[in-house]
Protein backbone atom coordinates (compact mmCIF):
# COMPACT_ATOMS: atom_id res chain seq x y z
CA UNK A 1 0.00 0.00 0.00
CA UNK A 2 2.73 2.36 1.01
CA UNK A 3 4.79 1.63 -2.09
CA UNK A 4 1.84 2.13 -4.40
CA UNK A 5 1.22 5.49 -2.75
CA UNK A 6 4.86 6.41 -3.23
CA UNK A 7 4.72 5.34 -6.86
CA UNK A 8 1.56 7.35 -7.30
CA UNK A 9 3.13 10.37 -5.71
CA UNK A 10 6.24 10.01 -7.85
CA UNK A 11 4.13 9.69 -10.99
CA UNK A 12 2.08 12.69 -9.92
CA UNK A 13 5.15 14.85 -9.45
CA UNK A 14 6.64 13.61 -12.69
CA UNK A 15 3.43 14.54 -14.51
CA UNK A 16 3.07 17.84 -12.76
CA UNK A 17 6.65 18.59 -13.72
CA UNK A 18 6.84 20.96 -10.80
CA UNK A 19 8.98 18.81 -8.54
CA UNK A 20 12.52 20.17 -8.40
CA UNK A 21 15.29 17.76 -9.26
CA UNK A 22 16.74 15.94 -6.28
CA UNK A 23 19.23 18.09 -4.41
CA UNK A 24 18.19 21.30 -6.14
CA UNK A 25 18.44 24.21 -3.78
CA UNK A 26 15.79 26.90 -3.60
CA UNK A 27 16.83 30.40 -2.65
CA UNK A 28 14.95 33.69 -2.63
CA UNK A 29 15.67 36.70 -4.80
CA UNK A 30 15.71 40.27 -3.50
CA UNK A 31 11.93 40.49 -3.80
CA UNK A 32 11.55 37.32 -1.74
CA UNK A 33 10.42 35.20 -4.69
CA UNK A 34 11.58 31.58 -4.62
CA UNK A 35 14.20 30.63 -7.18
CA UNK A 36 15.58 27.17 -7.91
CA UNK A 37 19.36 27.37 -8.06
CA UNK A 38 20.65 25.85 -11.31
CA UNK A 39 22.96 22.82 -11.06
CA UNK A 40 25.60 24.36 -13.28
CA UNK A 41 26.34 27.70 -14.91
CA UNK A 42 23.43 28.67 -17.17
CA UNK A 43 24.39 28.80 -20.83
CA UNK A 44 21.95 31.45 -22.01
CA UNK A 45 21.68 34.35 -19.60
CA UNK A 46 19.55 37.42 -20.31
CA UNK A 47 20.68 40.52 -18.45
CA UNK A 48 18.06 43.20 -17.98
CA UNK A 49 20.34 46.01 -16.80
CA UNK A 50 23.78 47.41 -17.76
CA UNK A 51 25.29 46.93 -14.27
CA UNK A 52 24.26 43.27 -14.31
CA UNK A 53 25.83 42.86 -17.74
CA UNK A 54 29.08 44.41 -16.46
CA UNK A 55 29.17 42.07 -13.48
CA UNK A 56 28.46 39.04 -15.68
CA UNK A 57 31.34 39.96 -18.01
CA UNK A 58 33.60 40.67 -15.03
CA UNK A 59 32.86 37.13 -13.81
CA UNK A 60 34.00 35.76 -17.18
CA UNK A 61 30.44 34.94 -18.21
CA UNK A 62 30.52 37.04 -21.39
CA UNK A 63 30.02 34.06 -23.73
CA UNK A 64 27.03 32.99 -21.63
CA UNK A 65 25.17 36.29 -22.05
CA UNK A 66 22.46 35.70 -24.66
CA UNK A 67 20.66 39.02 -24.38
CA UNK A 68 21.20 42.47 -22.90
CA UNK A 69 19.50 45.88 -22.94
CA UNK A 70 20.27 48.56 -25.47
CA UNK A 71 22.15 50.41 -22.72
CA UNK A 72 24.58 47.54 -22.09
CA UNK A 73 27.71 48.93 -23.80
CA UNK A 74 30.42 47.97 -21.31
CA UNK A 75 32.69 46.09 -21.70
CA UNK A 76 32.80 46.74 -25.47
CA UNK A 77 32.22 43.03 -26.17
CA UNK A 78 28.78 43.45 -24.60
CA UNK A 79 27.74 45.54 -27.59
CA UNK A 80 27.71 42.42 -29.76
CA UNK A 81 25.10 40.72 -27.55
CA UNK A 82 21.55 40.64 -29.00
CA UNK A 83 19.40 43.50 -27.67
CA UNK A 84 16.21 42.86 -25.71
CA UNK A 85 15.01 46.50 -25.61
CA UNK A 86 15.45 48.99 -22.80
CA UNK A 87 15.22 48.96 -19.02
CA UNK A 88 11.55 49.88 -18.78
CA UNK A 89 10.58 48.60 -22.20
CA UNK A 90 12.20 45.20 -22.63
CA UNK A 91 10.50 43.12 -25.30
CA UNK A 92 8.96 39.97 -23.90
CA UNK A 93 8.84 38.26 -27.27
CA UNK A 94 12.54 38.83 -27.94
CA UNK A 95 13.47 37.56 -24.48
CA UNK A 96 11.34 34.47 -25.02
CA UNK A 97 12.86 33.86 -28.45
CA UNK A 98 16.35 33.85 -26.92
CA UNK A 99 15.29 30.81 -24.85
CA UNK A 100 17.17 31.94 -21.75
CA UNK A 101 17.88 29.54 -18.91
CA UNK A 102 18.38 32.50 -16.57
CA UNK A 103 16.99 36.03 -16.64
CA UNK A 104 18.65 38.46 -14.23
CA UNK A 105 16.54 41.54 -13.65
CA UNK A 106 16.61 44.44 -11.24
CA UNK A 107 14.08 46.51 -9.33
CA UNK A 108 14.02 49.24 -11.97
CA UNK A 109 12.53 46.88 -14.55
CA UNK A 110 8.73 47.04 -14.56
CA UNK A 111 7.54 44.38 -12.15
CA UNK A 112 4.57 43.55 -14.35
CA UNK A 113 6.88 42.61 -17.21
CA UNK A 114 8.98 40.44 -14.90
CA UNK A 115 5.84 38.70 -13.65
CA UNK A 116 4.77 38.06 -17.23
CA UNK A 117 8.19 36.51 -17.94
CA UNK A 118 7.80 34.28 -14.88
CA UNK A 119 4.35 33.26 -16.12
CA UNK A 120 6.03 32.05 -19.32
CA UNK A 121 8.12 29.74 -17.08
CA UNK A 122 11.33 31.68 -17.57
CA UNK A 123 13.60 31.58 -14.50
CA UNK A 124 13.69 35.23 -13.43
CA UNK A 125 15.95 36.38 -10.60
CA UNK A 126 15.33 39.95 -9.41
CA UNK A 127 18.02 42.01 -7.71
CA UNK A 128 17.71 45.20 -5.74
CA UNK A 129 19.92 48.24 -6.28
CA UNK A 130 21.83 49.03 -3.12
CA UNK A 131 22.30 52.50 -1.70
CA UNK A 132 26.01 52.22 -1.01
CA UNK A 133 29.24 50.46 -1.87
CA UNK A 134 28.64 47.99 0.96
CA UNK A 135 25.75 46.57 -1.05
CA UNK A 136 27.84 46.14 -4.20
CA UNK A 137 29.89 43.19 -2.96
CA UNK A 138 26.87 41.13 -1.86
CA UNK A 139 25.25 41.95 -5.23
CA UNK A 140 28.27 40.53 -7.06
CA UNK A 141 28.26 37.46 -4.83
CA UNK A 142 24.55 37.01 -5.40
CA UNK A 143 25.04 37.06 -9.18
CA UNK A 144 27.91 34.63 -8.66
CA UNK A 145 25.58 32.37 -6.71
CA UNK A 146 22.81 32.19 -9.33
CA UNK A 147 25.33 31.69 -12.12
CA UNK A 148 27.28 29.14 -10.07
CA UNK A 149 30.42 31.22 -10.23
CA UNK A 150 30.70 31.56 -6.48
CA UNK A 151 34.50 31.51 -6.22
CA UNK A 152 35.03 33.98 -9.09
CA UNK A 153 32.46 36.28 -7.50
CA UNK A 154 34.15 36.19 -4.08
CA UNK A 155 37.50 36.87 -5.73
CA UNK A 156 36.08 39.84 -7.66
CA UNK A 157 34.36 41.20 -4.56
CA UNK A 158 37.54 40.79 -2.53
CA UNK A 159 39.70 42.60 -5.08
CA UNK A 160 37.21 45.47 -5.33
CA UNK A 161 37.04 45.67 -1.56
CA UNK A 162 40.85 45.79 -1.41
CA UNK A 163 40.85 48.63 -3.93
CA UNK A 164 38.28 50.48 -1.85
CA UNK A 165 40.41 49.99 1.28
CA UNK A 166 43.50 51.32 -0.48
CA UNK A 167 41.62 54.53 -1.31
CA UNK A 168 40.36 54.69 2.24
CA UNK A 169 43.83 54.33 3.77
CA UNK A 170 45.35 56.84 1.32
CA UNK A 171 42.70 59.35 2.36
CA UNK A 172 43.17 58.80 6.06
CA UNK A 173 41.15 61.14 8.24
CA UNK A 174 39.70 64.07 6.33
CA UNK A 175 38.91 66.97 8.63
CA UNK A 176 37.63 69.68 6.33
CA UNK A 177 35.37 68.00 3.86
CA UNK A 178 34.74 69.75 0.53
CA UNK A 179 31.09 70.19 -0.36
CA UNK A 180 30.37 68.82 -3.80
CA UNK A 181 27.59 68.93 -6.34
CA UNK A 182 27.18 66.06 -8.76
CA UNK A 183 25.73 67.14 -12.08
CA UNK A 184 24.31 64.63 -14.51
CA UNK A 185 24.85 66.43 -17.81
CA UNK A 186 21.87 66.25 -20.10
CA UNK A 187 18.56 67.87 -19.38
CA UNK A 188 18.42 70.23 -16.44
CA UNK A 189 20.25 70.05 -13.15
CA UNK A 190 19.81 66.39 -12.29
CA UNK A 191 21.80 65.26 -9.30
CA UNK A 192 22.05 62.36 -6.88
CA UNK A 193 20.15 62.65 -3.60
CA UNK A 194 20.77 61.21 -0.17
CA UNK A 195 19.45 57.76 -1.03
CA UNK A 196 21.71 57.20 -3.99
CA UNK A 197 24.81 55.01 -3.94
CA UNK A 198 26.76 57.97 -5.34
CA UNK A 199 25.99 59.83 -2.13
CA UNK A 200 27.75 57.01 -0.29
CA UNK A 201 30.66 57.17 -2.74
CA UNK A 202 30.96 60.94 -2.11
CA UNK A 203 31.09 60.36 1.66
CA UNK A 204 33.76 57.68 1.20
CA UNK A 205 35.75 60.08 -1.01
CA UNK A 206 35.96 62.43 1.98
CA UNK A 207 33.36 64.94 0.85
CA UNK A 208 29.80 66.07 1.45
CA UNK A 209 27.03 65.95 -1.15
CA UNK A 210 25.10 69.21 -1.05
CA UNK A 211 22.00 67.36 -2.32
CA UNK A 212 22.21 64.77 0.47
CA UNK A 213 19.17 66.21 2.33
CA UNK A 214 16.97 65.21 -0.62
CA UNK A 215 15.47 61.84 0.31
CA UNK A 216 15.71 60.50 -3.25
CA UNK A 217 18.02 58.61 -5.56
CA UNK A 218 18.05 61.01 -8.50
CA UNK A 219 16.45 64.42 -8.31
CA UNK A 220 16.23 67.76 -10.07
CA UNK A 221 18.07 70.44 -8.12
CA UNK A 222 17.30 74.12 -8.40
CA UNK A 223 19.89 76.69 -9.38
CA UNK A 224 18.93 78.84 -6.45
CA UNK A 225 19.83 76.06 -4.05
CA UNK A 226 23.22 75.54 -5.70
CA UNK A 227 23.99 79.24 -5.39
CA UNK A 228 22.92 79.12 -1.73
CA UNK A 229 24.92 75.94 -0.99
CA UNK A 230 27.96 77.25 -2.92
CA UNK A 231 29.72 73.91 -3.52
CA UNK A 232 33.53 73.69 -3.47
CA UNK A 233 33.62 71.24 -6.34
CA UNK A 234 31.34 70.03 -9.10
CA UNK A 235 31.50 66.56 -10.65
CA UNK A 236 30.01 66.38 -14.08
CA UNK A 237 28.78 62.99 -15.17
CA UNK A 238 29.34 63.15 -18.91
CA UNK A 239 29.67 60.59 -21.67
CA UNK A 240 32.74 62.15 -23.30
CA UNK A 241 35.26 64.94 -22.83
CA UNK A 242 33.45 66.87 -25.55
CA UNK A 243 30.25 66.71 -23.48
CA UNK A 244 32.28 67.68 -20.42
CA UNK A 245 33.56 70.79 -22.21
CA UNK A 246 30.00 71.70 -23.16
CA UNK A 247 28.83 71.11 -19.61
CA UNK A 248 31.50 73.48 -18.22
CA UNK A 249 30.44 76.20 -20.65
CA UNK A 250 26.81 75.60 -19.76
CA UNK A 251 27.42 75.79 -16.01
CA UNK A 252 29.26 79.11 -16.22
CA UNK A 253 27.02 80.55 -18.93
CA UNK A 254 23.40 79.53 -19.29
CA UNK A 255 23.08 78.03 -15.82
CA UNK A 256 24.52 81.24 -14.29
CA UNK A 257 26.57 79.34 -11.74
CA UNK A 258 29.83 81.12 -12.59
CA UNK A 259 29.88 82.82 -9.20
CA UNK A 260 29.92 79.60 -7.18
CA UNK A 261 33.26 78.69 -5.61
CA UNK A 262 33.55 75.48 -7.63
CA UNK A 263 33.00 77.04 -11.05
CA UNK A 264 34.95 80.22 -10.28
CA UNK A 265 38.00 78.28 -9.06
CA UNK A 266 37.77 75.74 -11.87
CA UNK A 267 37.17 72.80 -9.54
CA UNK A 268 34.87 71.16 -12.05
CA UNK A 269 35.76 67.53 -12.72
CA UNK A 270 34.68 64.92 -15.21
CA UNK A 271 33.35 61.58 -14.05
CA UNK A 272 32.61 58.85 -16.57
CA UNK A 273 28.82 58.89 -16.63
CA UNK A 274 28.77 55.39 -17.96
CA UNK A 275 30.66 54.06 -14.92
CA UNK A 276 29.17 56.33 -12.26
CA UNK A 277 25.54 55.80 -13.18
CA UNK A 278 25.72 52.02 -12.85
CA UNK A 279 25.82 50.06 -9.66
CA UNK A 280 28.64 47.85 -10.89
CA UNK A 281 32.33 47.01 -10.42
CA UNK A 282 33.57 50.28 -11.92
CA UNK A 283 32.01 52.22 -9.05
CA UNK A 284 35.17 51.61 -7.01
CA UNK A 285 37.21 53.34 -9.72
CA UNK A 286 34.72 56.22 -9.60
CA UNK A 287 35.43 56.44 -5.87
CA UNK A 288 39.18 56.50 -6.54
CA UNK A 289 38.81 59.19 -9.22
CA UNK A 290 36.64 61.31 -6.96
CA UNK A 291 38.99 61.00 -3.97
CA UNK A 292 42.01 61.84 -6.14
CA UNK A 293 40.31 64.92 -7.62
CA UNK A 294 39.24 66.25 -4.22
CA UNK A 295 42.34 65.38 -2.21
CA UNK A 296 45.24 65.23 -4.71
CA UNK A 297 47.81 65.79 -1.94
CA UNK A 298 46.96 62.48 -0.35
CA UNK A 299 47.57 60.59 -3.58
CA UNK A 300 51.05 61.96 -4.18
CA UNK A 301 49.91 64.84 -6.33
CA UNK A 302 50.25 68.54 -5.71
CA UNK A 303 47.47 70.20 -3.77
Amino acid sequence: MKTSLAVFAAAFFALAGGAPAAGAQTIRDDLGRPFVLPEKTPARIVSMAPNITEILFALGLGPHVAGATRFCDYPPEAQAVPRIGGLVDPNIEIIQSLRPDLVIAFRGNPLRILERLSDLHLPVFILDIGNGLDALYPLIERIGQVTRRESEASALAASLRARERSVESALGVVVSKPRVFVFLYGQGLWTCGGQSYLNDVIIRAGAVNIAAPLPKKWALYSRERIVRDDPDAVFVLAKSSADFAKARVWLAGEARLGTTAAVASGRVFLLDENAASRFGPRLVEVLAAMARALHPERFGGRP
Binding site: V88, D89, E93, R107, G108, I113
Partner: protein, 329 residues
Amino acid sequence: MRDRARLRLVMALLVLLAAAGFLVSLLVGPARTSVGDLWRFLAGKDREQAVIFLDLRLARAVVAFLVGASLALSGAILQGYFQNPMADPFVVGVSSGASLGAVLAIALGLRASFLGFSGQSLLAFASGLGIVALVYALSQRKGLFKIETLLLTGIAAGALASALTSFFLFMRSDSFDQAVFWLLGSFQLAGWTEAWAVGPWLAVCLAASLWLAKDMNLLVLGDEAAQALGCPVRPVRRAFLVVASLLASLSVSVSGIIGFVGLVVPHGVRLLIGPDHRRLFPCAALAGGTFLLYSDLVARTILPSELPIGVITAAVGAPFFLYLLHQKR
Protein backbone atom coordinates in the same frame (compact mmCIF):
# COMPACT_ATOMS: atom_id res chain seq x y z
CA MET B 1 -33.89 44.09 -48.82
CA ARG B 2 -30.94 46.15 -50.04
CA ASP B 3 -30.28 46.99 -46.41
CA ARG B 4 -29.95 43.33 -45.59
CA ALA B 5 -27.49 42.72 -48.39
CA ARG B 6 -25.47 45.70 -47.29
CA LEU B 7 -25.39 44.47 -43.70
CA ARG B 8 -24.22 41.05 -44.86
CA LEU B 9 -21.54 42.58 -47.01
CA VAL B 10 -20.26 44.74 -44.16
CA MET B 11 -20.28 41.80 -41.74
CA ALA B 12 -18.46 39.55 -44.22
CA LEU B 13 -15.84 42.20 -44.88
CA LEU B 14 -15.28 42.74 -41.16
CA VAL B 15 -14.89 39.03 -40.50
CA LEU B 16 -12.41 38.76 -43.36
CA LEU B 17 -10.44 41.78 -42.13
CA ALA B 18 -10.38 40.39 -38.59
CA ALA B 19 -9.20 36.98 -39.80
CA ALA B 20 -6.45 38.61 -41.85
CA GLY B 21 -5.51 40.73 -38.84
CA PHE B 22 -5.15 37.67 -36.63
CA LEU B 23 -3.00 35.95 -39.24
CA VAL B 24 -0.69 38.95 -39.63
CA SER B 25 -0.51 39.31 -35.83
CA LEU B 26 0.71 35.74 -35.61
CA LEU B 27 3.38 36.28 -38.23
CA VAL B 28 4.79 39.68 -37.29
CA GLY B 29 6.95 40.38 -34.27
CA PRO B 30 10.46 41.17 -33.15
CA ALA B 31 11.40 37.48 -33.06
CA ARG B 32 11.77 36.38 -36.67
CA THR B 33 9.17 33.87 -37.78
CA SER B 34 8.23 32.90 -41.31
CA VAL B 35 5.01 31.61 -42.85
CA GLY B 36 6.78 28.23 -42.92
CA ASP B 37 7.36 28.36 -39.16
CA LEU B 38 3.69 29.09 -38.57
CA TRP B 39 2.65 26.31 -40.93
CA ARG B 40 4.95 23.77 -39.25
CA PHE B 41 3.61 24.93 -35.89
CA LEU B 42 -0.03 24.61 -36.99
CA ALA B 43 0.68 21.19 -38.48
CA GLY B 44 1.96 20.18 -35.07
CA LYS B 45 5.42 19.30 -36.32
CA ASP B 46 7.30 22.02 -34.53
CA ARG B 47 6.34 23.09 -31.01
CA GLU B 48 9.53 25.14 -30.60
CA GLN B 49 7.72 28.42 -31.21
CA ALA B 50 4.57 27.50 -29.27
CA VAL B 51 5.10 30.14 -26.59
CA ILE B 52 5.70 32.90 -29.12
CA PHE B 53 2.76 31.96 -31.34
CA LEU B 54 0.21 31.06 -28.69
CA ASP B 55 1.07 32.73 -25.39
CA LEU B 56 2.50 35.94 -26.77
CA ARG B 57 1.12 36.78 -30.19
CA LEU B 58 -2.23 35.01 -30.30
CA ALA B 59 -3.14 35.86 -26.71
CA ARG B 60 -2.25 39.46 -27.32
CA ALA B 61 -4.26 39.64 -30.54
CA VAL B 62 -7.25 38.03 -28.84
CA VAL B 63 -7.14 40.47 -25.94
CA ALA B 64 -6.78 43.44 -28.30
CA PHE B 65 -9.79 42.18 -30.26
CA LEU B 66 -11.91 41.62 -27.14
CA VAL B 67 -11.02 45.01 -25.66
CA GLY B 68 -11.73 46.75 -28.96
CA ALA B 69 -15.09 45.00 -29.19
CA SER B 70 -15.93 45.95 -25.59
CA LEU B 71 -14.97 49.59 -26.04
CA ALA B 72 -16.87 49.94 -29.31
CA LEU B 73 -19.96 48.26 -27.87
CA SER B 74 -19.72 50.47 -24.80
CA GLY B 75 -19.45 53.52 -27.07
CA ALA B 76 -22.40 52.41 -29.19
CA ILE B 77 -24.51 52.03 -26.04
CA LEU B 78 -23.44 55.39 -24.60
CA GLN B 79 -24.13 57.16 -27.89
CA GLY B 80 -27.65 55.76 -27.90
CA TYR B 81 -28.04 56.43 -24.21
CA PHE B 82 -27.06 60.08 -24.41
CA GLN B 83 -28.69 60.39 -27.87
CA ASN B 84 -25.45 61.89 -28.96
CA PRO B 85 -22.80 60.62 -31.37
CA MET B 86 -20.05 62.34 -29.38
CA ALA B 87 -20.41 60.14 -26.35
CA ASP B 88 -17.91 57.35 -25.74
CA PRO B 89 -16.37 55.81 -22.63
CA PHE B 90 -13.31 58.03 -22.97
CA VAL B 91 -15.11 61.31 -23.63
CA VAL B 92 -17.75 60.69 -20.96
CA GLY B 93 -14.99 59.93 -18.46
CA VAL B 94 -15.76 56.27 -17.70
CA SER B 95 -12.32 55.15 -18.89
CA SER B 96 -10.48 57.65 -16.72
CA GLY B 97 -12.70 56.78 -13.78
CA ALA B 98 -12.06 53.07 -14.24
CA SER B 99 -8.36 53.70 -14.54
CA LEU B 100 -8.42 55.63 -11.26
CA GLY B 101 -10.22 52.71 -9.59
CA ALA B 102 -7.68 50.20 -10.89
CA VAL B 103 -4.72 52.30 -9.77
CA LEU B 104 -6.35 52.86 -6.40
CA ALA B 105 -6.80 49.10 -5.99
CA ILE B 106 -3.10 48.62 -6.73
CA ALA B 107 -2.10 51.40 -4.32
CA LEU B 108 -4.26 49.87 -1.60
CA GLY B 109 -2.87 46.42 -2.36
CA LEU B 110 -6.35 45.01 -2.93
CA ARG B 111 -6.02 41.35 -3.80
CA ALA B 112 -9.50 40.03 -3.08
CA SER B 113 -11.74 38.78 -5.85
CA PHE B 114 -15.49 38.38 -6.17
CA LEU B 115 -17.52 36.50 -8.78
CA GLY B 116 -14.44 36.06 -10.93
CA PHE B 117 -13.60 39.76 -10.84
CA SER B 118 -10.31 40.84 -9.35
CA GLY B 119 -10.41 43.60 -6.76
CA GLN B 120 -8.79 45.75 -9.40
CA SER B 121 -11.59 45.25 -11.95
CA LEU B 122 -14.25 45.67 -9.27
CA LEU B 123 -12.93 49.01 -8.10
CA ALA B 124 -12.41 50.01 -11.75
CA PHE B 125 -16.05 49.14 -12.42
CA ALA B 126 -17.29 50.98 -9.35
CA SER B 127 -15.44 54.19 -10.11
CA GLY B 128 -16.25 53.98 -13.84
CA LEU B 129 -19.95 53.64 -13.00
CA GLY B 130 -19.61 56.46 -10.48
CA ILE B 131 -18.24 58.81 -13.11
CA VAL B 132 -21.03 58.07 -15.64
CA ALA B 133 -23.63 58.55 -12.94
CA LEU B 134 -22.03 61.86 -12.03
CA VAL B 135 -21.83 63.02 -15.64
CA TYR B 136 -25.43 61.89 -16.17
CA ALA B 137 -26.68 63.78 -13.14
CA LEU B 138 -24.74 66.94 -13.93
CA SER B 139 -25.47 67.15 -17.64
CA GLN B 140 -29.21 66.53 -17.47
CA ARG B 141 -31.42 69.60 -17.67
CA LYS B 142 -35.17 68.92 -17.53
CA GLY B 143 -34.72 65.46 -18.99
CA LEU B 144 -32.61 66.74 -21.88
CA PHE B 145 -28.92 66.49 -22.52
CA LYS B 146 -27.12 69.48 -23.91
CA ILE B 147 -24.11 68.41 -25.96
CA GLU B 148 -21.85 71.07 -24.50
CA THR B 149 -22.73 70.25 -20.89
CA LEU B 150 -22.26 66.54 -21.50
CA LEU B 151 -18.87 66.96 -23.14
CA LEU B 152 -17.59 69.51 -20.66
CA THR B 153 -18.75 67.53 -17.64
CA GLY B 154 -17.18 64.41 -19.08
CA ILE B 155 -13.91 66.18 -19.81
CA ALA B 156 -13.80 67.75 -16.34
CA ALA B 157 -14.62 64.48 -14.56
CA GLY B 158 -12.12 62.60 -16.74
CA ALA B 159 -9.38 65.15 -16.13
CA LEU B 160 -9.96 65.00 -12.38
CA ALA B 161 -9.81 61.20 -12.44
CA SER B 162 -6.61 61.29 -14.55
CA ALA B 163 -5.03 63.78 -12.16
CA LEU B 164 -5.81 61.55 -9.19
CA THR B 165 -4.49 58.54 -11.12
CA SER B 166 -1.21 60.35 -11.82
CA PHE B 167 -1.04 61.42 -8.18
CA PHE B 168 -1.33 57.85 -6.89
CA LEU B 169 1.19 56.63 -9.46
CA PHE B 170 3.79 59.29 -8.73
CA MET B 171 3.46 58.76 -4.98
CA ARG B 172 5.44 55.64 -5.76
CA SER B 173 8.57 56.77 -7.53
CA ASP B 174 9.23 53.53 -9.40
CA SER B 175 6.09 53.53 -11.47
CA PHE B 176 6.72 55.67 -14.53
CA ASP B 177 6.01 52.76 -16.84
CA GLN B 178 2.80 52.14 -14.92
CA ALA B 179 1.75 55.75 -15.48
CA VAL B 180 2.21 55.31 -19.22
CA PHE B 181 0.23 52.08 -19.07
CA TRP B 182 -2.72 53.49 -17.12
CA LEU B 183 -2.91 56.76 -19.03
CA LEU B 184 -2.21 55.60 -22.61
CA GLY B 185 -2.86 51.86 -22.62
CA SER B 186 -0.85 48.88 -23.82
CA PHE B 187 -1.30 45.24 -24.69
CA GLN B 188 2.32 44.42 -24.05
CA LEU B 189 1.48 42.25 -21.05
CA ALA B 190 -1.75 40.79 -22.38
CA GLY B 191 -2.05 37.04 -21.97
CA TRP B 192 -4.72 34.39 -21.67
CA THR B 193 -5.64 35.48 -18.12
CA GLU B 194 -6.70 38.85 -19.51
CA ALA B 195 -8.58 37.20 -22.36
CA TRP B 196 -10.57 35.13 -19.86
CA ALA B 197 -11.22 38.19 -17.72
CA VAL B 198 -12.86 40.05 -20.61
CA GLY B 199 -14.20 37.40 -23.02
CA PRO B 200 -17.08 35.89 -21.02
CA TRP B 201 -18.32 39.27 -19.80
CA LEU B 202 -18.20 40.67 -23.30
CA ALA B 203 -20.42 37.77 -24.38
CA VAL B 204 -22.87 38.45 -21.55
CA CYS B 205 -22.95 42.18 -22.23
CA LEU B 206 -23.36 41.68 -25.97
CA ALA B 207 -26.28 39.30 -25.35
CA ALA B 208 -27.88 41.74 -22.90
CA SER B 209 -27.53 44.69 -25.25
CA LEU B 210 -28.95 42.70 -28.16
CA TRP B 211 -31.89 41.72 -25.99
CA LEU B 212 -32.48 45.38 -25.11
CA ALA B 213 -31.57 46.78 -28.53
CA LYS B 214 -35.22 47.29 -29.50
CA ASP B 215 -35.75 49.38 -26.38
CA MET B 216 -32.68 51.42 -27.23
CA ASN B 217 -34.26 52.16 -30.62
CA LEU B 218 -37.28 53.53 -28.74
CA LEU B 219 -35.18 55.52 -26.25
CA VAL B 220 -33.73 57.47 -29.14
CA LEU B 221 -37.22 58.90 -29.76
CA GLY B 222 -37.14 60.47 -26.31
CA ASP B 223 -38.01 59.03 -22.91
CA GLU B 224 -41.69 60.02 -22.97
CA ALA B 225 -42.30 58.64 -26.44
CA ALA B 226 -40.47 55.44 -25.49
CA GLN B 227 -42.57 55.05 -22.34
CA ALA B 228 -45.74 55.56 -24.38
CA LEU B 229 -44.59 52.86 -26.81
CA GLY B 230 -44.23 50.37 -23.98
CA CYS B 231 -40.55 50.61 -23.12
CA PRO B 232 -39.80 50.48 -19.37
CA VAL B 233 -37.54 53.48 -19.62
CA ARG B 234 -35.90 53.63 -16.20
CA PRO B 235 -34.85 49.98 -15.80
CA VAL B 236 -33.67 49.86 -19.41
CA ARG B 237 -31.61 53.00 -18.96
CA ARG B 238 -30.12 51.67 -15.77
CA ALA B 239 -29.26 48.33 -17.39
CA PHE B 240 -27.54 50.04 -20.32
CA LEU B 241 -25.55 52.28 -18.02
CA VAL B 242 -24.29 49.27 -16.05
CA VAL B 243 -23.45 47.31 -19.21
CA ALA B 244 -21.58 50.21 -20.81
CA SER B 245 -19.60 50.91 -17.64
CA LEU B 246 -18.84 47.24 -17.11
CA LEU B 247 -17.47 46.88 -20.65
CA ALA B 248 -15.34 50.00 -20.45
CA SER B 249 -14.06 49.25 -16.94
CA LEU B 250 -13.08 45.68 -17.77
CA SER B 251 -11.24 46.92 -20.83
CA VAL B 252 -9.39 49.52 -18.81
CA SER B 253 -8.47 47.07 -16.07
CA VAL B 254 -6.67 44.79 -18.55
CA SER B 255 -5.18 47.29 -20.97
CA GLY B 256 -5.25 50.78 -19.47
CA ILE B 257 -7.04 53.73 -21.06
CA ILE B 258 -7.46 53.46 -24.79
CA GLY B 259 -9.27 56.46 -26.13
CA PHE B 260 -11.46 57.14 -29.16
CA VAL B 261 -12.22 53.50 -30.11
CA GLY B 262 -15.66 53.81 -28.58
CA LEU B 263 -16.22 57.06 -30.42
CA VAL B 264 -14.95 56.45 -33.92
CA VAL B 265 -16.02 52.86 -34.45
CA PRO B 266 -19.75 53.00 -33.60
CA HIS B 267 -20.05 56.22 -35.52
CA GLY B 268 -18.39 54.81 -38.60
CA VAL B 269 -20.48 51.67 -38.40
CA ARG B 270 -23.66 53.75 -38.08
CA LEU B 271 -22.73 55.58 -41.29
CA LEU B 272 -22.34 52.21 -43.04
CA ILE B 273 -25.36 50.25 -41.85
CA GLY B 274 -27.74 52.78 -40.32
CA PRO B 275 -28.88 53.53 -36.79
CA ASP B 276 -30.82 50.34 -35.93
CA HIS B 277 -29.26 49.21 -32.67
CA ARG B 278 -30.08 45.55 -33.30
CA ARG B 279 -27.50 45.66 -36.08
CA LEU B 280 -25.33 48.42 -34.74
CA PHE B 281 -24.35 46.62 -31.52
CA PRO B 282 -22.91 43.41 -33.03
CA CYS B 283 -21.37 45.24 -35.99
CA ALA B 284 -19.74 47.85 -33.76
CA ALA B 285 -18.29 45.11 -31.55
CA LEU B 286 -16.85 43.28 -34.54
CA ALA B 287 -15.50 46.48 -36.10
CA GLY B 288 -14.07 47.70 -32.78
CA GLY B 289 -12.23 44.44 -32.25
CA THR B 290 -10.81 44.58 -35.76
CA PHE B 291 -9.82 48.24 -35.39
CA LEU B 292 -7.93 47.64 -32.15
CA LEU B 293 -6.33 44.47 -33.51
CA TYR B 294 -4.79 46.52 -36.33
CA SER B 295 -3.97 49.45 -34.03
CA ASP B 296 -2.04 47.12 -31.76
CA LEU B 297 -0.25 45.63 -34.74
CA VAL B 298 0.89 49.14 -35.70
CA ALA B 299 1.76 50.03 -32.10
CA ARG B 300 4.06 47.07 -31.70
CA THR B 301 5.74 47.09 -35.10
CA ILE B 302 6.07 50.68 -36.29
CA LEU B 303 9.09 51.46 -34.09
CA PRO B 304 11.85 49.27 -32.63
CA SER B 305 10.34 49.81 -29.16
CA GLU B 306 6.61 49.65 -28.58
CA LEU B 307 4.32 52.66 -28.69
CA PRO B 308 1.47 52.98 -26.19
CA ILE B 309 -1.62 52.00 -28.18
CA GLY B 310 -3.48 55.12 -27.03
CA VAL B 311 -1.09 57.09 -29.24
CA ILE B 312 -2.32 55.23 -32.33
CA THR B 313 -6.03 55.34 -31.52
CA ALA B 314 -5.83 59.02 -30.61
CA ALA B 315 -3.94 59.79 -33.83
CA VAL B 316 -6.86 58.24 -35.75
CA GLY B 317 -9.63 59.26 -33.40
CA ALA B 318 -8.90 62.86 -32.54
CA PRO B 319 -9.10 64.17 -36.13
CA PHE B 320 -12.34 62.24 -36.53
CA PHE B 321 -13.65 63.81 -33.32
CA LEU B 322 -12.81 67.28 -34.64
CA TYR B 323 -14.55 66.44 -37.89
CA LEU B 324 -17.69 65.45 -35.99
CA LEU B 325 -17.56 68.61 -33.90
CA HIS B 326 -17.21 70.68 -37.07
CA GLN B 327 -20.18 68.93 -38.69
CA LYS B 328 -22.34 69.72 -35.68
CA ARG B 329 -21.86 73.44 -36.08
